[in-house]
């Protein structure tokens, strides 16, 4: 496996349905189950990032049964403790480590270097090694669609986003949200509040209320592990949506939709490659086409004609005939971002450190 492409992921998903098909490949690991450890910095809870990662391992358990042993370690603070815990879990014989936060990067990379027999999947990072794959979701494909819906429903022409950290993954989510909205209403604006935390219910709620006070009437909860923003929006009667896993039950009326992530195709493919001894570290940047990013829980308030347009764009994103980051795109500072007709490559997208025109809040520098 040279790269995690859509095809290999699909093959893996199909293969796991027929556990017998790769029985021979498992021969060398006959009795020992493969130990898989997921480490996340926040609580697993019912919603959010950690929950989505943990849920992505369920199909792995279902497909491999007692051939895998899954351990989930939540609330592990980034730093020396995380390094030790990851080292310990590998020393305990777990051979597949899923390091679920960018802050685990250096420690996890050292583990991968020390022991070539270990496979490490690392969330949101940028380092690659033969047995070390960074993985990230193309959230922007989903947030573009929600941007279209938001523009159709917004009365004030002002959208907001409560966002965790100003890293490329989250910047692109906001940019695509703005671009999707501008495709419907070119004058629409997006304001952003950076809370600089993955998990801080009080701060997130405060930020949401501040955006609502500024007349933003659709709020994007960008990478929060708590339903605070979504719940605050329900209370104020403005639309909201979030990433990773559905928070509909916290906002029955005003929940616009969820840019859900299903990591199971990626995890299944990685487990299969690890067991077959063919794992090869590569940047896994996965989206709608890989079935990793899916928009769910669409709000019925979205007008039917808009919904049809959204579905049309979704199909084009899935088959690769459309990318949200297709020029002409101007930067927030007025300079040229993407030339007319050009499309940003994945490599350019994962390093995106500028906002598109229409994002009113300057990036923290």
């Amino acid at each position: 496996m040279t790269n995690l492409t859509r095809r290999t992921l699909m093959q893996a998903a199909a293969a796991t349905g027929l556990a017998g098909a790769f029985g021979s490949r498992l021969a060398f690991a006959a009795d020992e189950p493969l130990g898989i450890t997921l480490v996340v910095p926040s609580p697993i809870g019912d919603v959010g990032w950690g929950h989505a990662l943990s849920a992505g391992l369920e199909p792995v358990k279902a497909a491999y049964g007692d051939k895998v042993k899954v351990t989930v370690l939540e609330n592990i603070m980034e730093g020396p403790d995380a390094d030790r815990i990851m080292t310990k879990t590998v020393a305990d014989g777990n051979k597949l480590l899923i390091a679920g936060s960018f802050g685990y990067q250096n420690g996890a990379l050292q583990i991968a270097r020390r022991d070539p027999g270990v496979t490490v999947l690392h969330a949101s990072g940028f380092q690659v090694a033969p047995n070390f794959s960074p993985f990230a979701a193309k959230y922007f494909q989903g947030t573009y669609l929600l941007g279209m819906a938001a523009a159709a429903l917004s009365k004030t022409g002002k959208l907001g986003s409560v966002s965790a950290f100003a890293i490329p993954e989250l910047i692109t989510s906001i940019n695509a949200f703005a671009l999707g909205a501008q495709a419907v209403n070119p004058d629409i604006e997006v304001s952003v509040v950076w809370v600089n935390s993955w998990f801080d219910p009080a701060k997130e709620q405060e930020a949401a209320k501040a955006l609502i006070a500024q007349k933003c009437d659709v709020i994007f909860s960008n990478a929060q592990d708590t339903p605070s923003v979504v719940a605050a929006c329900e209370e104020a009667g403005v639309y909201s949506f979030n990433l990773n896993s559905s928070m509909k039950k916290y906002a029955e009326k005003t929940y616009l939709g969820c840019v859900a992530t299903d990591w199971s195709p990626f995890f299944l493919a990685s487990v299969e490659a690890h067991l077959a001894g063919t794992f090869k570290g590569a940047n896994a940047f996965l989206g709608v086409a890989d079935k990793v990013v899916q928009v769910t829980d669409w709000n019925p308030a979205i007008p039917a004609d808009m919904m049809a347009k959204i579905k049309d764009v979704e199909t084009k994103i899935a088959d690769g005939s459309f990318s949200p980051f297709t020029g002409p795109i101007a930067r927030a500072d007025g300079s040229d971002g993407v030339a007319a007709g050009a499309t940003m490559t994945d490599a350019e997208i994962v390093a995106m450190d500028w906002h598109v025109k229409g994002v009113a809040t300057p990036l923290p520098k």
């Binding site: 020396p80 403790d81 030790r84 802050g103 600089n196 450190d353 923290p364």
Partner: protein, 364 residues
């Protein structure tokens, strides 16, 4: 005879019991273990596996034990510094903030001079960190002495300010320019790292410095006149006042020593296992060290033992999470109940139970 008179009463001892002083920590440990074993059984975990992971594994392999030693370092630094203040009844609760300032000050060298090389770098970082911690604690001392502002509140709240200062630096001027906006600094150069003590482990020379400081703390508290004045000030403030010992000086000295030690710990952490400045540099060392200081009876030698015990429990807690599938909350309950058990046990150092005399009633 009413029910209440059947209950024992606490009676103050004529003098602290030596037996109780020595017995209190191990009894507290035993009580906490027993209580929590019950909890693990209720949670459906195998208590033998939990005990093995929690209490034995940290000592069973050199790699585990070296991690215990690594974790002992910062606890030992901070607790020794705090204990001196606590004995003078100056309650510096903000060691966490002083730790962060120590880390920030120390990081200034590798962040501003990433190309610098030479054996002077890491010692200067430790020194700068210690100064940073002392300066931060100095703010608390200043307000306490000048305005009689409560040092518990001021130092605690300054910890929150320190964390915000750290976040500001990492999101702004000190962010790694090639780090894709991730809130962390550049990785430090080789010479900005404290040399390791044992090859293959993360234990570094700062542990020896912590032990040397423990000895210095012992000499200071037991042998020096200044240490004596601090203790008298804590035990009998009015007597100390009559003897001409200045309260202001005691407050300044207590807080500066506490801040110096906590800052040193913070510096040793970024120049040790971290190797860069990042958001989560402390796993609550500043707060755990308060427990460590009291568990060690505020005595420099006791603190060496208690910091080792606390570090072992912490490593054991991580092990229990990884190997025995214990949730992190249960690990924290264990640490909390240990302090609670100790506080109860320590009451018996100064007090004893007196049972009411029950006169046998003769059958009528």
């Amino acid at each position: 005879m009413s029910m209440t008179s059947l209950l024992p009463t606490l009676v103050r001892r004529e003098r602290a019991s030596l037996k109780a002083t020595l017995l209190a920590p191990p009894l507290a440990l035993a009580a906490a273990i027993l209580l929590n074993l019950g909890l693990y059984v209720l949670m459906g975990r195998d208590p033998a596996a939990v005990v093995h992971a929690l209490l034995l594994e940290p000592f069973l392999s050199w790699s585990s034990f070296s991690e215990v030693l690594l974790k002992t370092g910062p606890l030992l630094f901070i607790a020794q510094g705090l204990a001196i203040g606590f004995r003078a009844k100056v309650f510096n609760i903000g060691a966490e903030g002083q730790f962060i300032l120590g880390a920030i000050f120390a990081s200034a060298i590798p962040i501003w001079f990433p190309q610098a090389a030479g054996g002077w770098i890491w010692p200067s970082m430790l020194l700068l960190g210690a100064i940073g911690g002392a300066l931060w604690a100095g703010i608390t001392a200043f307000w306490r002495v000048r305005l009689n502002a409560n040092e518990i509140l001021v130092s605690l709240m300054l910890s929150l300010v320190a964390a915000q200062l750290l976040y500001y630096l990492l999101l702004g001027p000190w962010k790694d320019p090639n780090g894709f906006n991730f809130p962390q600094s550049v990785m430090f150069q080789y010479d900005a790292m404290v040399p390791t003590l044992f090859a293959g482990t993360r234990v570094n020379v700062s542990l020896l410095i912590a032990l040397a400081l423990s000895l210095a703390a012992w000499i200071f508290m037991q042998k020096s006149f200044m240490g004596y004045k601090l203790q008298v000030g804590g035990l009998a403030p009015r007597a100390a006042g009559y003897a001409g010992f200045s309260e202001g000086r005691a407050i300044w000295l207590s807080l500066l020593i506490g801040g110096f030690a906590a800052g040193l710990a913070g510096a040793a952490e970024v120049a040790g296992p971290l190797g860069q400045l990042q958001r989560s540099i402390s796993t609550g060392y500043g707060y755990s060290a308060i427990i460590v200081a009291y568990l060690g009876g505020l005595h420099p030698i006791g603190i060496v033992v208690s910091s080792l015990v606390m570090a072992a429990i912490s490593i054991g807690g991580d092990n229990a999470m990884v190997s025995a599938n214990l949730p992190i909350a249960a690990v924290r309950v264990f640490q909390g109940s240990l302090l609670l058990a100790y506080l109860v046990a320590v009451a018996f150092v100064r007090y004893r139970l007196e049972w009411p005399q029950i006169t046998a009633r003769s059958p009528s």
